[in-house]
Amino acid sequence: MHPLIFIGGATTLGFLFALQEWIDSRFWNYHVNLSLLLSAWGVQYFLWGLICWVLWINFRQQINDASLRTVLLVGIPLSIGVCVLEEIIWVILFPRLPMGHPPMSFWPRLLFHLDAEFVDSMVIVWSAFFLFRGLGYYQRYREKELAASQLESQLVQAQMRALRMQLNPHFLFNTMNSISSLMRIDVSAADLMLEQLSRLLRITLQRGDSQFIPLSNEMEFIEMYLAMQDRRYAGRVEQQMRIDPHLHDALVPNMILQPIVENAYRHGLCRVSSGGHLDIEASRQGSRLRLAVTNSGHGLAVVHNGGSPNGVGLDNVRNRLRMHYGVEQSFSISEVEDRAVQVVLTLPLLFGSRPTDNETRYGVS
């Protein structure tokens, strides 16, 4: 906030107090110098405005984060100090006050004014403290709300993109074309491909709205997608998955890996005529989860020349990671040996408090 708001507002308040006191004393038939009153009150509140502004600019964070312990041990002594300091400055500036008293030296004057105004001063400091703290809460609440709605829309976008990716001409129509060509020569292979396509669409449609899902669910989709691609690329790509079994339940953002795997095919593996490889790895690094997707291909140059299409899916991944985890995550895309491209994500390793419902049932027939 602009300093004028603090200083202007506080000084105006001071003038109003001065006016009030002047009117009061006129009412009781005292004659007080209005300009002295105005300057005394004005300066006092100008100082308070300045102090509040300094608090706002430099200590907002501390005010918002302070625990009760800090408030008691640091806040109270500090507020006393600030009140005394403000009074000292003011007393230096107005040696003629208090009026109607014989002239006093500095210390008695300070004590006199402190006695009269210390409680008021404390009230001002603590009002400012609680006001700032309240504003902080409000701001955080708003930010959280905003982030939540953004995340929601990003997830929806990811889902839409997943659907579009499967319904896009490259994937859907080529798959259908493969089915159509298989129908003439191998009906059961055509059937199988049709069934796989349906399973893939089914999983996508059933992902639901939850922001986080267990890694095993995410991998289920990936496995299906890979099975499908394996048929289309008929042995051109060797797929490998290494998932640490401790991590099946680790929570990952819904649809976080899928755009990466799709990208691996779209920009890398689809240009490989044989001997391609795709590695997906989930491992634990201390308190972090590391997900890595490596694909052979033609390096990053191709991807970058491709321009924006690559960007959208990965940007979504990047954005969602940032919004979920702040600085606790990392995303990198790099070229590793032999023109392979590797995407690595790390995120905090979290497990669901309640495991997902068991959908297995037993029976006799």
Binding site: S188, L192, E195, L200, R202, I203, M224, H246, R361
Partner: protein, 251 residues
């Protein structure tokens, strides 16, 4: 010969079933129903052994058909294979002892597996109606004979006899059949409890094998033993479980 009725409101869907059934000579189609009411009448009239049943039909759904048939006197309930585009009715289907649950579109292979299971079931039923009825009520064996779960966009009513072995992966188990593996959220202890100990043997803290698929138990170089399955896969066996397999072999 086993007689079957097809129930689906879409003519192409019935046509596909008919076509696929041509590959299975033991099954004869005795009628086709396009609505639930038609199907109920047809089943009452023809008393088939097997019913291919769509869930969503214009008048009532497939479960209503079952309900009507179950309350009708003088009709033996046919074995049911559901064919539907929706996976959300799978558990209900499992609970009413449906033979299988086919998600459309399905392949001939998947269809064969379902009909094979149905044929098996119907044969058992004919040979030994009392035992089969008892098994259906669940007072027969206390052990599960099949499991239902979702895996990779499919519903599986998996007979436990098709499980080769089961491996633990932390809070999950990996169920391995001859052709596929499935990851289930389940514990080894719970699963072991459900499985018949005469067929399934725990050989390691993290593996259970189906003895029907075991080829041999072979000593390893380090003094431990390993179980070799018929498909050549080796599963390590721990000392503490070795006594159990020895007992079984001596029987």
């Amino acid at each position: 010969m086993i007689q079957a009725v097809l129930a689906d409101d879409e003519v192409l869907a019935r046509q596909k079933l008919r076509q696929l059934l041509r590959e299975i000579p033991e099954i004869e189609v005795v009628g086709e129903g396009a609505t639930a009411a038609e199907t109920i009448d047809l089943v009452r009239a023809t008393k088939p052994d097997l019913l291919f049943l769509d869930v969503r039909m214009p008048d009532m759904d497939g479960f209503d058909v079952i309900g009507h048939l179950a309350t009708a006197d003088g009709v033996n309930m046919p074995s049911v294979i559901f064919t539907t585009a929706y996976d959300r009715y799978a558990l209900r289907a499992f609970d009413i002892h449906a033979i299988d649950y086919l998600l459309k579109p399905f392949t001939l292979e998947r269809f064969r597996a379902a009909t094979h299971r149905a044929l098996q079931h119907i044969k058992n039923l004919r040979q030994n109606p009392q035992a089969a009825a008892a098994a259906k009520d669940g007072n027969g064996s206390p052990y599960t004979s099949r499991i239902v779960f979702k895996s990779k966009g499919r519903i599986l009513f998996l007979p436990v006899s098709e499980i080769c072995w089961i491996g633990a992966e932390e809070n999950y188990v990996r169920i391995c059949t001859q052709s596929e593996t499935h990851l289930l959220r389940e514990t080894m202890a719970h699963l072991e409890e459900k499985l018949d100990p005469n067929t399934f043997l725990r050989v390691h803290r993290s593996s259970i094998v189906n003895l029907q698929y075991v080829k041999e138990v072979r000593p390893e170089s380090d003094g431990d033993y390993g179980v070799v399955l018929r498909n050549g896969q080796k599963i390590p066996m721990s000392r503490s479980y070795r006594a159990r397999i020895r007992n079984w072999m001596e029987r």
